[in-house]
Structure formats: structure tokens, C-alpha cells
């Protein structure tokens, strides 16, 4: 009998005394919700009705002598249920019931009463978030839910946490090396120093924030503590057989808490597990009442210990290793002041431990998901009245004595009025007094970001509670039965016998777990996928893995990239209201700064002007007009530049940046009171940022000393671009390698910091991604001109990050460059967007829009006069250009020069020294449509992964793959062998489904091994690049004319066919894409596809295209 029913039964037997159950149930409120008495209908996980139960205030039950004051359980559950009712969420709420009692009511009826429980354990909170709730629940409300962040225009010293990071990294490597080399101290020391060196190089920019006359304690301490750590390792592990698990993720599905322990020691002779949490800084330390000294990290270690208990590791001991100055002080949890202050008894099942963690977990959940206030402006303001959020109950003894205001961004932005030090004019009633349109705009995007966060926070629970086969077959996010083949350093190679069918692809974040354990049970390790084969998988992990076990790999995906978008969105709300200079009353939307009024559709940007531009021979007419308009831009104004495929968008950007820098070359001084720099370029992806830097350097080499590429050196970064990062400019790597760290490490670091600060003072152009808007290089800097590249691919909150670096009151220039006819922003797809309110017409948002509508597209709709479109393109020859232009750009796109218009495949091959006659297909016109309508074998295999989060339904079409292999084989085989590689490298094959791409790769390899050089990829990964010959495989070919969710967005087709320079071959079933399916929602896409095929037929009549039947080829 499942545990819930058994527990319910057991409860009924012993009436009157509370029992410890620890069992999950589903509940649904019955009747009208009242704060003091909540009546619930309890069900088991699979829906069987258990009966009605109740929750009373103060953990009271009929027949109970007294009630417990300051109990948070009933009030928090009431707020959660009320909020779910308001949000019309009907599915039942999961509760992990820890303690309950079957009470005898006065009328003799037996009423089960729930006393202690954890609300919605499927929503995972991390140990750090629990620590933050324990510090100040109001800070969790302002930073985790609302998303308030530091003002990046105000310089703020960093560097304290780098000391901690260096020690962590060094200690981790030294421990691993010590155990791996069986006690070789020298290798452990070298590993430690390498760890410190690596952290210093990667985080040099944060160290540069602090101005100092000489080396500081932060620089010295990581080196002074080396010997102590090595002695400690030798003393504890000399001659012992144990295994170390480093940086392991562990997760308790029954508590909804996850965490990452620095180190877990498992003695091989079967002794108890030892969980170690390393703490360096004393900021959030806990004061010991008796001895008075301070010990950090109490609650986090307690939460990890609770996770181990709930996973059944009863005997585990938890230790906080404190690094104070040059000494290590291991502090068993029993002596931790937090435990002694609350008189907790860890040996027995002490309920106060559970209360402490349940309070932090439940209040943390209720507040950070927004169920506490929703988007009610009155409740949002009232939340700030009391930092302990008394409305949620909760005992102040389970909170810290004083809130940590010094590190709270809400206090620095004077939104929270509790802070001891007021940074500026206090913002009373921020949410009620914000203009209606600004608040509605903020709430509409905020709700969608929060929905995405909730989906990814419930992923771990989903992984643990769903059987592995279902995850692998239906959703394709898990690969089981993998054997470890070899592990060199941190790169591990797994293989298995049967074919790997999955959605996981390169650069995805995954969780590697031994199959004997559930994901997140102590032994799970995070990593990123480096390569995906048919039978093998290469993953870069954080730690070494034991070889003898079989593993499963689960797709984890990245939520954290959403957090910075939340901060960008909320920073816009706070800064726009704060810069009006009006406080204490309702702000009118007209009083907002000009750029904010433009973004909110209150007033249009000014018409693009014309400023004198320097001679730019390599720009065409429209590019020069766009450059002149950008230079003529007044502060507080906006300009939109649409760059269709191949129109030289990046070279225009390079010219604009260089000219603007030249105009303001002597107007800025590093570290003046108000540090005001000329140009900031933010892009959507790292690849695009590197491209901008490359174009800037090879077009204008004289600008090189003033360009800084934000962020640390990345593995896939071009060498020339890597040299522009601040760490490389100051020669960090060489300086730290040569210096002997143990002797004068701090001095070498200090000189390096000084050099980096000087280079930073003189820099005028900063290039980075939208996510790095609050990075250390940009802290305290405001910019005259901010350019957002690939704006069509950035979501609106991401684009708002660019505004954070405009001078106060947004008195700077903003230029958005992108193309809303190409790929939209990447947003997880199955979440239904909230309804678009009627008033949003003035914002340019239509009914079907959501987070996937980029700001560029919205503003282009709203202000067509402020949009300049580049029309001459330098990539596609005339026929392909006409096809793209007529279908997607109303015929305005034209070839830039005659040479571009007339480039042919034969011309390219002649250039390579080939004059052999080509096959029938390749010598004909450049646009070829191979239609498979009448080819019976050419049907797609149907959607394989229907459930789950990603758009990709993993269809494939073997016949099309075969046709493509035949075509390309025909082209390549007729060429002399030595030139085949170059020709193959110029070929690109695009299809929307990864499964089809793998099938095409196999067909090409079977036909001719040199064809492996041709790039086969999805549309999204082809964005931004181009090839001489492009073959597009449409795949979808079925009777019900289903084109699938990927093709439903016609912009992918525009990107696919506009990658081709000289020859374009489209292989697919024309009728599937043009027939009317009788289904809603795809009519816009159908209209474009009908136009596309009609245009091909028109080109065929002019002899510039040819349509073939696929049967005629094989």
C-alpha cells in the first residue's frame, strides 16, 4: 500500500497524539478560505481521496492544551492557497506532511490535523537562498522576487569574495591532487597554486575595482594559508583509503532543498560520510553568545545535514571548516553557535531543527514565487512595512538579530526604508506611485520571466520522480546505461551500445549521476556537453568520476541566465521613477525621462537627422545614411537600424564606434568623479561580440588600445579578440606564471592590478554581451552611446540591460541594430503567454505577442519613421536575392554590386582551378527546388518527442537525406580529389530538426568521407554565418499538412535560405507547406511559404530557377 495511505491509516489508529509522518500528499481547499481555520481535501500522489483534514493557527488541534505562538505554517499556507485561488490555479497543491495528529472533535468526529509540513516541495530552493531568508525575508522579497539589483553607475568595491574563491579553488584542487597522488605534498602545492593563479586571472577585473597603495590582505591570504591546508590534508588523510566527492550537487525531493557541498569524504572502510562546507569570509557570521567569536555558514550546513537525513544517510556528520587568517578551524556542527543558540539537539529527531529549516523553506517559497503579494500594488508596498514579514507568521528566534542591510541592493537604491544609511531620496510606495503604464509593462514581462523560472526550478523534482525510460523516450532529456570509457583531466567520454536518440546537444548543461542513485543524491556531478556522437558522449565535468559504475546523463539547461534579465527589467522600473526627481506622490507618465517615454510609447523618437560623417569609401549609400543618423542622435533619443542578411551590419557598427570614439577621444578621464565613456556595444551572444571586435580591429587597427572585450578569456574565443580582454591586455597569464607565488605572489598580483587599472582608464569602447551589463569592467561607468547588436534576438528585459549604463535620467543615445524578420529571441516554448491587455496597443504589442517578441520588433512596429533599413546586400547572387527579397522584404533588398549579383557556382569552382563540366543540377540556374510531392517514400517519420519543453519534435525524413547525399555526391565526385576538401568546406546543409541532421551526416559519410567537411546544422546555430552552397531540407511531409512548431515561425525559413552566396537547393514537399491544413495559428507562416514557392515558379519562368522531381534524381 503506498506510503500515503499507510500513514493515513496509522494516523487514524492512534488518536490524540501527534506523529512524525514525513509523507507527500496533495491537498485542495474546501469551502471558503479563512485565515485561522483551513479545511483541506487530502489526496494521494496518484489522486485517490484520503479524506478531509484541517490546519489551525499556532499548530493547534482539538484536544490540544496550548498553541505555539510565532508558528508560520498556517498563515503561510493560507497566503499560498489564497494566491493560487486568485491565479485560478486549480490543480492540487503538494504538501510534504512532516507531523500530523488525528484529533477527536467535540462532536466525536475524528479530524486529521496537519501540524508541520513543507509547501510545494517540487519547487527547489538552494542552501544559499535559505541562508538569505534566515538573514532577512524582506531582502529575499526585494532581490529574489522583485529583482532589485545594485545601481551599476555607482562604483562599488569588489574583491572580498575573490579571496574566498581563490582559496576554495586552491583547496579543492589540492585535496583532489593529494588523494589522487596518494599524499604527494609537492604536487598538491602546485595544484593549489595553479588553482589560485587561475582564479586571479579569471577574476582580475573584480580585483581592479579596489584602489590601494599596495598589496592588500585580500591578495596575501590565499598564499599564506597554503602550508596550513597541506598540513591539514596530510594530518587527516595520510595513509587512509577514502574517496573524495568535490562540488557535488545534492537534493532532497521531500524537502525541496538543493545545495552544493564543497567536499564529501567517504571512507572506503565504510565509516560515516563527512560533509564539509568551507567558509572564508565572516560577513554573514553567527555570533556565539558565550565565547563571542563569529562562525559563518550555520544554516547552510544545517540544511545540507537535513538533506542527508532525508536521503537516509543518518550517520553523516557535517563540519564547517573556517579559514581565518592563515589557520583552519574545523567546527563540528554541534558546537556551531547557531545550534547552541537555539538549544538544538542534533542526536535525536529534534523538531526545532525541522522548524528552523521548514520556516526558511516555506517563507522562501511563498515570497520568491510572488504568491505572497502577486502583482497587487498595495500589497507590494505594504510588504516593505516590516522586514520580518510578520503577516507570514514565523518566529523571530529563527531569524538573525539584525538584517544584513549593508549588502542589500534594495537599501542602496533606497527602495527599502529600513537601511541604516540612506543612499538618496527614499522612494516611498514605489509600486503604487509608479505610472500605470510603466507598472503594467513591468508586471507583464515580470510574470513571464517568473513562469520560466518556476518551470526550471521544478526540473530536478521532475527528473527524480519520473521513470528514466519515460524521460528518455518521450522527452529525450535523459540518456541511460552509459559506461565511462576514459577520463583525461576533467573531460570524460561515455559510450553505450544502442543508438543515442536525444534532444541534448553541444554546450548543454547536464547532470551526470551513477544509475544506482537518483539524480541529486550526493553523487551527481554537473558538466557541459562537448561533443555528441551516435554512440558516445564527451562531457566536461567539475570532478573526476569513478570508472566502475554505469551512468545516466540528464539535461539540466540553464535557468540562471534569466536572473539578469529580471534585474534589467526591474532596474528600468526603479531608475525611471527615481530619475524623475519627484517623490512621495503618483508620478505621471509624462514626467518620466524621454527615453523611458519613448520605450513606453508615450512620445515618438525624433526623425533621423543627418550629421557630417568622415569619408567612408567602403560603406554604401544607405549605410552612410544610417551612420549619419546615428551620429546626429541627440542624448535621450533612440534609433533603429534594420540589417537584413548580408547587408554589412557589423562594418556599419565598426564605423559608428570608431567615429564616435574619435569625436569624444579627449572628453573622458578614468576615475573622474563622474566616469563618462564614449561607446558601449552589447550583443546577444558571445560569438556576435567576438565578431564585432574582430571587424573593429581589422578595419581600424589604430583603435585597438582603446577597445576592451568584457569578460574573461573563453575557450572558443579568437586569439586576436582574447588579447583585448582586460586580463590579457595587462599580461596576467605570463606575469603570474613567471612570478614565484609563494615569495612575492601578492606583489606580482598588485603590479598586475595596477597595469590593468591603467589600461581600463584609457579604454573608450567596451564590447560585451547583454548579460555582462553588471560586470566589474563596467561598474561605475556611464556611456554616451550604447549600441545593441542582434537586437532582434534579445528579449525585451534583456534589451533593458543596455539602459543601465546610460547616464542618470537616460540622457544618452541608444542605437538598436537587428532584424525582426530573422530569428526571434530564444524562450522556452510550451508556456502559454499571459493575455495582452487592451491598453498595450500604444506599446505596439498585438494579441499573440509574448516574451518572444523582441523590443526591436515592437519598436519597429510603433515607430516606422525611426527605422532605417539597409537594402544593399553583399552575400547572395541576384536570383537568390530576388527570392529572399520578394518573399520576406517586399522587394526592397537588392545586390550591393554587380559582381555580387553575377557570382555563380561555376565562377567559384573556376576560382579554385576546376573547369570540369558539372552534373545537370549544378550547371543550371542557382536556385533549385527538388520537390518530393509525388515521391511516395519521402514522408517524414512523424514527431518523436511530443512532451517536454523544447520546440524540436525530432522528426526526420530518410528519403530527403538520401536525395541530398546523391546531389552533393554528384557535385563532389566529379571534382579532382585534391580540391574536394575546399569545395566540401564551402557547402552548408540546414534542417530544423537535429535528428534529420544526424541522419544527413550518416548518409554523406556513407557517400564520400570528404563530405564530412560540409557543415550540417540547425537554423538557430547557422545564424550569422554563410556558405557558397546551401541545401535546405524541409523534412515535414505528411498527409495532415503538419509543418510542426519550428516551421510555424516563418523567420527560420528566411534565415535558412539567406545563408547561400552562390547556389541554393531546397529539398522538400511543396504541398505540405502550401495546402490549407484547416488549423488555426499557422496562416501567417502559410502565406509566406505560398509566396516563397510562387516566387520560385516565377524565377523558373525567367530561367533563374529550376524545379525537379526527387524520383528523377535517384
Amino acid at each position: 500500500m503506498p506510503s500515503a495511505e499507510r500513514a493515513w491509516q496509522q494516523l487514524q489508529e492512534s488518536t490524540g497524539e501527534p506523529q512524525w509522518l514525513d509523507v507527500p500528499i496533495l491537498v485542495r481547499p474546501v469551502g471558503e478560505l479563512r485565515p485561522g481555520r483551513i479545511v483541506l481535501e487530502a489526496l494521494t500522489e496518484d489522486g485517490h481521496l484520503l479524506g478531509t483534514c484541517a490546519v489551525f493557527n499556532g499548530e493547534w488541534y482539538p484536544g490540544c492544551q496550548g498553541s505555539i505562538p510565532y508558528s508560520h505554517y498556517a498563515p503561510t499556507l493560507y497566503r499560498v492557497l489564497l494566491a493560487r485561488q486568485r491565479r485560478e490555479e486549480t490543480e492540487p497543491l503538494r504538501l510534504q506532511v512532516l507531523k500530523a495528529v488525528a484529533a477527536q472533535t467535540r462532536s466525536g468526529r475524528l479530524l486529521p490535523v496537519l501540524l508541520k509540513f513543507i509547501i510545494a516541495p517540487e519547487h527547489t530552493l538552494t542552501g544559499a537562498q535559505l541562508e538569505q531568508v534566515y538573514g532577512c525575508p524582506l531582502q529575499v522579497f526585494y532581490t529574489r522576487f522583485v529583482g532589485i539589483s545594485y545601481d551599476v553607475l555607482r562604483s562599488r568595491e569588489g574583491g572580498g569574495d575573490i579571496r574566498g574563491r581563490a582559496i576554495h579553488e586552491g583547496y579543492r584542487r589540492a585535496a583532489a591532487e593529494f588523494v589522487a597522488s596518494r599524499g604527494d605534498l609537492e604536487r598538491a602545492r602546485a595544484a593549489y597554486l595553479e588553482g589560485v593563479r587561475r582564479v586571479w586571472v579569471e577574476w582580475l577585473t573584480t580585483l581592479c575595482l579596489k584602489l590601494s597603495a599596495g598589496p592588500l590582505r585580500d591578495h596575501r591570504q590565499p598564499l599564506e594559508v597554503v602550508d596550513e591546508i597541506l598540513d591539514y590534508c596530510r594530518h587527516r588523510w595520510e595513509g587512509k583509503a577514502l574517496r573524495l566527492y568535490l562540488e557535488r550537487l545534492f537534493y532532497a525531493p521531500s524537502r525541496g532543498i538543493s545545495g552544493r557541498a564543497d567536499r564529501i569524504e567517504q571512507p572506503l572502510d565504510g565509516g560515516p560520510l563527512r560533509v564539509v562546507e568551507i567558509k572564508t569570509s565572516g560577513m554573514d557570521a553567527e555570533q556565539d553568545p558565550q565565547t563571542g567569536d563569529r562562525h559563518p555558514g550555520g544554516l547552510q550546513a544545517l540544511a545540507y545535514r537535513e538533506i542527508l537525513y532525508s536521503l537516509g544517510e543518518q550517520s553523516a556528520e557535517a563540519v564547517v571548516e573556517e579559514i581565518r587568517g592563515a589557520r583552519i578551524k574545523p567546527l563540528p556542527l554541534e558546537q556551531h553557535p547557531l545550534i547552541r543558540r537555539l538549544r538544538l539537539d542534533l542526536s535525536t529527531r529534534d523538531e526545532r531543527v525541522v522548524d528552523l529549516i521548514a520556516q526558511a523553506r516555506n517563507i522562501g517559497y511563498c515570497v520568491s514565487t510572488g504568491l505572497f503579494t502577486g502583482y497587487d500594488r498595495y500589497l507590494l508596498d505594504r510588504a516593505g512595512d516590516d522586514w520580518r514579514l510578520r503577516e507570514l507568521g514565523g518566529s523571530f528566534e529563527f531569524l538573525r538579530a539584525r538584517p544584513p542591510c549593508r549588502i542589500c541592493p534594495a537599501q542602496h537604491r533606497s527602495v527599502c526604508l529600513y537601511g541604516t544609511r540612506h543612499a538618496g531620496q527614499p522612494l516611498y510606495s514605489l509600486f503604487r506611485y509608479a505610472p500605470n503604464r510603466l507598472f503594467a509593462y513591468w508586471a507583464w514581462f515580470h510574470r513571464q520571466l517568473k513562469a520560466e523560472e518556476r518551470a526550471s526550478r521544478q526540473l530536478l523534482f521532475h527528473l527524480v520522480n519520473t521513470p528514466a525510460e519515460m524521460l528518455e523516450q518521450a522527452e529525450g532529456i535523459t540518456i541511460g546505461r552509459l559506461r565511462l570509457v576514459e577520463q583525461t583531466g576533467l573531460i570524460a567520454v561515455f559510450t553505450r551500445d544502442e543508438r543515442i536518440e536525444t534532444r541534448i546537444r553541444e554546450d548543454d548543461r547536464v547532470l551526470v549521476t551513477p544509475e544506482t542513485r537518483a539524480p541529486g543524491q550526493i553523487f551527481s556531478l554537473e558538466g557541459t556537453v562537448k561533443a555528441m556522437g551516435e554512440h558516445e558522449l564527451v562531457v566536461r565535468l567539475n570532478d573526476r568520476v569513478a570508472a566502475e559504475e554505469t551512468y545516466r546523463v540528464d539535461l539540466v539547461g540553464g535557468y540562471d541566465l534569466r536572473e539578469w534579465q529580471l534585474e534589467g527589467l526591474t532596474d528600468f522600473l526603479v531608475s525611471a521613477v527615481a530619475s524623475t526627481g519627484v517623490r512621495g506622490r503618483k508620478v505621471q507618465v509624462e514626467e518620466l525621462p524621454r527615453l523611458a517615454r519613448i520605450l513606453l510609447g508615450v512620445e515618438p523618437p525624433s526623425l533621423p537627422g543627418q550629421a557630417p560623417t568622415p569619408p567612408a569609401p567602403d560603406l554604401n549609400e544607405t549605410q552612410r545614411r544610417a551612420l549619419a543618423a546615428a551620429l546626429a542622435l541627440q542624448p535621450g533619443d533612440l534609433l533603429l537600424i534594420q540589417g537584413p542578411p548580408g547587408t554589412g551590419k557589423t562594418s556599419l557598427l565598426a564605423h559608428l564606434a570608431r567615429t564616435f570614439l574619435a569625436r569624444h577621444l579627449f572628453d573622458y578621464d578614468g576615475r573622474a568623479e563622474r566616469d563618462h565613456r564614449p561607446v558601449l556595444i552589447l550583443t546577444n551572444t558571445h560569438r556576435a561580440a567576438d565578431e564585432v571586435v574582430l571587424k573593429l580591429l581589422d578595419r581600424f587597427p589604430e583603435v585597438a588600445p582603446f577597445v576592451i572585450r568584457i569578460g574573461a578569456r573563453r575557450a572558443d574565443m579568437d586569439e586576436q579578440v582574447a588579447r583585448q580582454t582586460l586580463a590579457e591586455r595587462a599580461g596576467a597569464r605570463e606575469a603570474l606564471e613567471q612570478a614565484d607565488l609563494t615569495q612575492d605572489g601578492a606583489g606580482a598580483l598588485f603590479r598586475l592590478i595596477r597595469r590593468a587599472q591603467t589600461c581600463h582608464d584609457h579604454a573608450g569602447i567596451f564590447v560585451g554581451t547583454l548579460g555582462s551589463a553588471d560586470s566589474a569592467e563596467l561598474r561605475g561607468l556611464s556611456f554616451e552611446l550604447v549600441i545593441v547588436d542582434e537586437a532582434g534576438q534579445a528579449t525585451e528585459p534583456a534589451m533593458l540591460q543596455a539602459l543601465r549604463h546610460l547616464p542618470p535620467g537616460y540622457t544618452g543615445r541608444l542605437v538598436l541594430i537587428g532584424d525582426h524578420r530573422q530569428l526571434p529571441p530564444v524562450v522556452s516554448d510550451e508556456l502559454s503567454p499571459p493575455p495582452v491587455p487592451e491598453a498595450f496597443r500604444q506599446l505596439g504589442l498585438n494579441a499573440g505577442d509574448s516574451l518572444r517578441t523582441s523590443a526591436f520588433e515592437r519598436l519597429a512596429r510603433l515607430y516606422p519613421h525611426a527605422l532605417i533599413t539597409l537594402t544593399e546586400q553583399y552575400r547572395m547572387n541576384a536570383p537568390i536575392c530576388t527570392l529572399v527579397s520578394q518573399t520576406f522584404y517586399e522587394g526592397r533588398l537588392v545586390p550591393g554590386t554587380q559582381a555580387v549579383a553575377e557570382q555563380t557556382l561555376a565562377g567559384w569552382l573556376a576560382g579554385l582551378g576546376i573547369s570540369a563540366p558539372l552534373g545537370s543540377v549544378w550547371s543550371g540556374p542557382p536556385v533549385v527546388l527538388v520537390t518530393t510531392e509525388r515521391d511516395p517514400g519521402a514522408r517524414d517519420s512523424g514527431a518523436r518527442f511530443t512532451a517536454g519543453r523544447s520546440l524540436d519534435e525530432a522528426r526526420d525524413n530518410p528519403r530527403e537525406a538520401e536525395v541530398i547525399a546523391t546531389l552533393l555526391g554528384g557535385l563532389v565526385c566529379s571534382l579532382p580529389p585534391e580540391l574536394r576538401r575546399d569545395v566540401a568546406r564551402g557547402i552548408g546543409i540546414i534542417s530544423p530538426y537535429r535528428r534529420q541532421n544526424t541522419r544527413i551526416r550518416q548518409e554523406l559519410l556513407r557517400r564520400d568521407p570528404v563530405l564530412a567537411e560540409a557543415r550540417v546544422d540547425t537554423v538557430d546555430r547557422f545564424q550569422g554565418s554563410e556558405r557558397e552552397v546551401i541545401v535546405v531540407s524541409l523534412v515535414n511531409s505528411n498527409d495532415e499538412a503538419a509543418i510542426g512548431r519550428l516551421h510555424a515561425d516563418w523567420r527560420r525559413m528566411n534565415v535558412a535560405i539567406s545563408r547561400a552566396r552562390r547556389a541554393l537547393v531546397i529539398v522538400g514537399d511543396r504541398s505540405t507547406f502550401t495546402r490549407d491544413p484547416g488549423r488555426l495559428g499557422e496562416d501567417e507562416a502559410r502565406r509566406y511559404y505560398r509566396a516563397l514557392f510562387a516566387e520560385i515558379e516565377r524565377l523558373e519562368r525567367q530561367g533563374q530557377a529550376c524545379v525537379l522531381e526527387s524520383q528523377s534524381l535517384s
Partner: protein
Amino acid sequence: MGQDGGEHLVDPEATGSFVARVNRYRESVGHRRFAGEDPVVYPESKAPAEVAAAAIAAERLGGLLRLDSQAISPAEDLAAAELDAGLRALANWDVRLARWRLAIAAGYAHLAEQQQRVSLARALAQTVRDLLYEPPGRPRVKPEAPVLMLLPALDRLPREELDFYAEEAKRLAELWREASRDDLLWSGWALARTRVSLRDGEPDAALAWLLRIYRRNRARLPADDPLERLVRPAEATFRLLLPLADGEDEAELRKLAEDASPHDLLVATVATLSQVWGTDLLQVSDRFALVLYQQPEPDRERPT
């Protein structure tokens, strides 16, 4: 008006249905507010009961009521009343009550001038709190900072009101700093703390403050020291907390502590010290009280 003057018996059904109608409005508005809208309450029909229910719902929610194309803030007078109550509480050094009333006023106020007056009152609450509960002259504490920083941003309040409160905040802060150096002012401040403790019903705290005042002014008291008789029982109550010195008898101390009365000690202290200092100590203590801005022309009423 009470036309028929007779006893008005409450009709349960009518009340129930009316209250249900009001709750229906409140629930629908609460629902839409939870989703982020800031809705105005529209009466569903012109019927008087309906309009009354909508008006009462709007007032209870602190929202706006739509009556034939005009948006009315029905609770504006409540906001003014709560604001006045909050300011009066501040003048009586009652910070908790003031913050509670001002929070309600902030919920009701919709007119810009009223909203800014409420925000100014909340800044003054912070000032009075620092003035009262921070020891005089404590470093890094500037009681006048919240008010002075806020004033330039209050653009809808009359000039003289802003100047008045700027002067008032500076005066209080200066007085507070002065008190750390001047014994008389310090005694006045401590007396204020005593009166607050007594009002909050904490006799021991009042006794403690009175003993501190006594300790501070001991040198100035004349030889025959009239307060001695009252101070000894007060000290007895605290001496009982400490380990007994030799020669002290527990029972005798306990009897002595019985008649320790903070009120008598307060009156006696004020009388004695006023004589010693030559000025009325109560008046010195009253100088720490916040002076409220009064409208210059008595007849021009604020928008009540």
C-alpha cells in the same frame, strides 16, 4: 436626519445582502489587482444600493470610484484624518502608532498633495524615531537626513510648509546633538524617554531613566538632597537584581522596593531639578517634541 426618531432595528437579510454585494465588488477588484491591474470600481447599475455598495467597496479598498465619467477617491477624507492622527501621534513620541496610521493614510490617499504630505510624515517618523531611540550624539546617525533629502523632491507642497519642516528637523537634530554635551538638555531628553516609558506602561524602564537623570545631576543637588527618600527604593529594585553586598538584607531591600513609585520620583525629580537649574525641566523635555505645521489662515480648510 432621523425622520421617524424610532428605534432602528437592523434587518439581518438586508444587511447580509448589502454586505455580500460589497464583498462581491471587493473580491473582483482584489482579483484583478492581484494580476497587476489597478482597477477602478464601477457601480453595475444606477440603483442607489448598487452605487452605495460600490462606493463602500472602493473606500475599503482605498481605490477609486467611477461615477458618471469622473474618478472619485472616496476615502480622501479618511486619508487626511489618518494623516492628522499619525502626525499627532508623532508629536506625542508614539512612533509605532504613527507608522500604523500613516500606512493606512498612504493606502487611502490619491490626491498628489495629500500623498506627498503622507510621505513627508513618514520621513518625520524616521526622524522622531532616531531622535528618541538613538543615544544623543551617536556617530553616523543623522536624524534630520531622511527629511532634508526628501524635501527637494516634494513639488506639490507649499513652500512654507517645506521650509517649516526643514527648520524643525534641523532644530531637533541640533538639539539632539547638543544634548550629548549639555547636562540640562540631556536630562530633558532622558525625561522624554521616561514619559514615553511610563505611557507605554513600563515602570522599570521609567525608573531606570530617572536613576540615570539622578546620577547625571547628582553633583548639582543641594546637600540635604530631597530626592534621597524616593531614590533609595528605586535603587533597591535594581540592587535586588545584583548579588547582595555584605551587610544588605534581602527582606529589607524587598520591603524598600515595594514603594518604589516611578510617578512620584518623576514629579519630585522635575520639581527639584527645575529649582536647581532655574528652568522648568518639563519645558526642556518638551523642546524634543515635534512641532506640527499649522495652516497660516485658520479658515482655509485642508481638502477634508
